[in-house]
């Protein structure tokens, strides 16, 4: 079967059609594989291969770094310098040996280029000349620039761009020109990135390897950010500013609109542009009408943010539908229809569907749009809450009223969501819901409710809203809030180990086969997402590892570990449920790989991170994959940073051991697979 490019939108559409009864649930897996690029068993083989290799290298390196840190005193200067230079030489050697166009060869050059930074930092730290930090970054950039030129890697170009930005940012503080103020710095950075961005786009059209969208977005977002800061400086008038500073913003928007709406549609950059416009407009009006205890000012600004976000949402949704109508393999757009001929016709072609394409009903929005809606929801909710608190007053006797008003807002949210499925309704409902839940929480705090009770009530309100209103985005937020409230309660009482319970429940919601997932998707998907994201958010926000290892009793740790272990086994088994027998054995092996990881990092959290990664791979969800990787990195960092009781040597040995375990597993699997399949 021909491989289809991964398309999360097509995946959601297919699940919607199954839920609506237009597709036979028994064909779910086949349909998803056909149109969505759903990972097939052999794709899983590749994913596991990369995951284990990446995890192994990451853990082994982290272990090595801790090992060196532990023996720092015993090592002479020559040894340290030899180690740091050895890292650079190793990267160059790999690139030489594997060739610059191979994947490992590129990884080798990038590794060498990154390793130059620590080498320079080590020299700077050993001989304290008092050189300015920007000199280090400038030297780093200069030394790796030959490699940037030859490696043909967008990642390395991006490293160069980031180093250039960092150098300018740091040098600004030291230079006499700093008298020009922060505005001067923003002008400089804007100038740099507005040269980099068109150059990069120009090269991307001619050189395939430069055409990496997510990397191009970095200088684009940097230009947008600096131009926005210039406008905000004029609005808030902190420093002497002129009308000249207003100019770059509209110019950048116009050029960006032409490039990313007319030529290559880029929803991420369009969403970021919308957010910038919303921020600028509300800052302008807010500065004019907001004052002390100005009820209408806050109310109007809150409503304005919500209305603007909804407008942006409608526009972006129409743009995203336009994108969806372009079948991935074909450059030319198909004739405009209110359906998705690409997806549906592919299904008809392989005999999985019959009849006309279903009309578009509840489109699921792509992630940049959901992110924008979330951000607008939070901002609007915050202002609405302040507006609410002004007439009620922050005085001590009125928490009951605040709590009551919060509940009223929550009820209004449910009514709105039941009445309307449109973008505007969803946006207002999200603001209402967040403001309402916030008001309930503040009200309870004011009433001196003990924290466990308040957390339980907050979680209960969130879950009530989850079940009462049938909007997926809102459900995800509610599950996340409920999970966050419960977990922070558990941290508070040193029972964090048990937080694995809600996470296990969240994963369990995913343990549904594709047909069942389609039928239950309005409940299961947001629930599992919210719980996992709530856990990871809580963890990353507080870096709670120290609490985990110091406060929790061993019994709880064991229970938590077992829960996590069972959950990961379940995910592994079900992800490969329809796979042939040998694949099932792989699933158990993969689950076994999670055990040393979770034991070695003391917290079972490692397996939550792995679960997030696996779910993201199965669901083709890039942001969720990012969350998983971030959680894993956070765990390793917390392990090093917070647990002072364990000596560095032990920590390093643990990490390195896990890394080598993962690498051995990778090696064994690779050998086995190489026998069974022609390995690509």
């Amino acid at each position: 079967m021909e491989t289809t490019a991964p398309d999360p939108q097509a995946r959601r559409r297919v699940l919607d059609w199954i839920a609506a009864g237009r597709l036979n649930p028994d064909h779910a897996q086949a349909a998803l594989i056909t149109v969505a690029g759903q990972p097939r068993p052999e794709d899983w083989r590749r994913n596991l291969d990369r995951l284990l290799l990446g995890l192994g290298v990451l853990l082994a390196l982290a272990g090595l770094v801790l090992f060196i840190a532990a023996n720092w005193d015993g090592m002479g200067r020559p040894t340290r310098f030899a180690l740091a230079q050895g890292a650079v030489v190793l990267g160059v050697a790999i690139a030489w040996w594997q060739g610059l166009d191979s994947r490992p060869g590129k990884a080798g050059v990038i590794w060498a280029a990154v390793a130059v930074g620590p080498l320079l930092a080590l020299i700077g730290q050993t001989y304290q000349t008092g050189a300015d930090p920007w000199q280090l970054f400038a030297a780093w950039l200069m030394l790796i620039s030959p490699w940037i030129g030859i490696a043909r890697s967008a990642l390395l170009v991006l490293l160069g761009v980031i180093l250039a930005n960092t150098t300018i940012g740091l040098a600004w503080d030291e230079h006499p020109w700093r008298m020009l103020g922060d505005m001067g710095l923003f002008w400089f950075l804007l100038g740099l990135n507005s040269v980099v961005l068109p150059t990069w786009e120009f090269l991307a059209k001619r050189l395939d390897w430069m055409n990496v969208r997510w990397a191009i977005r970095v200088p684009a977002l940097a230009s947008l950010w600096t131009a926005t800061m210039l406008v905000l400086a004029v609005i808030f008038g902190r420093e002497a500013s002129s009308v000249l500073e207003l100019l770059p913003f509209p110019i950048l928007l116009a050029v960006g609109f032409r490039a990313y709406r007319r030529q290559n549609i880029d929803l991420v950059l369009l969403s970021a542009g919308c957010l910038a416009v919303i921020v600028v407009i509300t800052s302008g009006t807010g500065r004019a009408i907001l004052g002390q205890e100005n009820f209408f000012g806050f109310l109007l600004t809150g409503l304005l943010i919500t209305a603007l976000t909804a407008t942006a949402g409608i526009w972006l949704r129409s743009v995203s539908r336009e994108v969806a109508q372009i079948p991935p393999q074909h450059a030319k757009p198909s004739p405009t229809r209110s359906t998705h001929p690409g997806t549906w016709e592919q299904l008809v072609a392989v005999g999985l569907a019959t009849g006309d394409a279903p009309a578009e009903d509840t489109a699921t929005d792509p992630w940049p749009l959901r992110l924008l809606q979330g951000a607008g929801g939070w901002l609007g909710a915050l202002l609405l809450m302040i507006a609410l608190a002004i007439p009620v007053g922050f005085a001590a006797q009125n928490e009951g009223i605040l709590l009551g008003l919060g509940l009223v807002l929550c009820a209004a949210n449910v009514l709105t969501l039941r009445q309307s499925t449109g973008v505007i309704g969803n946006q207002f409902a999200l603001a209402l819901s967040l403001a309402g839940q916030g008001a309930v929480m503040v009200g309870m705090m004011g009433m001196n409710l003990s924290w466990p009770t308040a957390a339980f009530v907050s979680a209960a309100v969130a879950m009530a809203l989850f079940f009462a209103a049938p909007a997926p985005t809102h459900r995800g937020w509610c599950a996340g809030i409920a999970s966050g409230a419960l977990i922070s309660q558990l941290i508070h009482t040193n029972h964090f180990a048990l937080s694995t319970g809600p996470v296990a429940l969240g994963i369990a919601a995913l343990l549904l086969t594709p047909p069942a997932q389609a039928r239950w998707r309005t409940l299961a998907r947001p629930l599992s997402r919210g719980l996992l994201a709530g856990w990871a958010g809580c963890f990353l926000a507080t870096r709670m590892e120290s609490r985990w290892s110091s406060g929790a009793t061993p019994g709880l740790i064991t229970i938590g570990s077992i829960l996590e272990f069972l959950a990961i086994l379940g995910v592994a088994a079900l992800v490969l449920r329809n796979a042939p027998a040998p694949q099932k054995r792989r699933a158990w092996l993969m689950a076994a790989a999670a055990v040393p990881a979770s034991l070695g990092l003391v917290v079972p959290g490692a397996s939550v991170a792995l679960a997030i990664i696996l779910v993201a791979l199965e669901e083709l969800d890039t942001p969720f994959l990012g969350l998983g990787v971030l959680t894993l990195l956070g765990l390793i960092w917390a392990h090093y940073q917070l647990d002072y009781a364990t000596p560095l040597v032990v920590k390093g040995a643990g990490l390195a051991g896990m890394g080598f375990a993962a690498l051995s597993l990778w090696f064994i699997l690779r050998r086995t697979w190489a026998r069974e399949y022609a390995y690509a």
């Binding site: 840190a69 720092w72 005193d73 310098f81 230079q85 650079v88 030489v89 160059v92 690139a95 030489w96 610059l100 050059v109 060498a112 130059v116 080498l119 320079l120 020299i123 730290q125 050993t126 001989y127 304290q128 000349t129 008092g130 300015d132 030297a139 030394l143 790796i144 030959p146 490699w147 030129g149 030859i150 503080d173 030291e174 006499p176 560095l648």
Partner: protein
């Protein structure tokens, strides 16, 4: 061709790094010793994690210069370098020495403003009263070690 540049780039990094190391080792080995008295920079945050923020008593004598420049220093009876004047290009008397200073974040900085040490060794360096430098005679100074009030090096066996 690309492989050539790959290797040349690697050599460039190694040469630059080792040249920097060699020059600084030479300065540490054969530079002129300079001892500066430390001043507590901010009593509340003298110790910050694994490095110590440094300030020098000289900075007070210097007042508020308007731009980067050079100091002329000479050792007093105890061997601690004291400010003679700002450098204006006039020849130095015997025993006098040139040291660069720079203005950073509204403060005068001589050499480094921090001393890094291994995790958990903070107590050892809390007794620091002097910093011992090696000067190259053209203005650059390298901090070699910290000394206590009896000029005994800290952190060395």
């Amino acid at each position: 061709m690309r492989k050539c540049i790959l290797i040349l780039g690697g050599l460039l990094v190694l040469i630059a790094a080792n040249a920097a190391i060699y020059l600084r080792e030479r300065q540490l080995a054969s530079g002129t010793p300079v001892i500066l008295a430390l001043a507590p920079r901010d009593p509340r945050s003298l110790m910050q994690g694994d490095y110590m923020a440094l300030a020098y008593a000289l900075e007070r004598d210097l007042g508020n210069p308007e731009q980067d420049g050079r100091l002329v220093l000479a050792p007093d009876a105890k061997g601690v370098a004291q400010l003679v004047r700002l450098d204006n290009g006039t020849p130095l008397s015997p025993g006098q020495l040139l040291v660069d200073y720079r203005l950073r974040q509204g403060r005068v900085r001589i050499g480094t403003d921090a001393w890094f040490f291994p995790e958990g060794k903070g107590d050892t360096y809390a007794a620091a009263r002097y910093g011992e430098f090696r000067a190259d005679g053209r203005g650059a100074v390298l901090l070699l070690r910290l000394l206590d009030e009896h000029f005994k090096p800290l952190g060395e066996p």
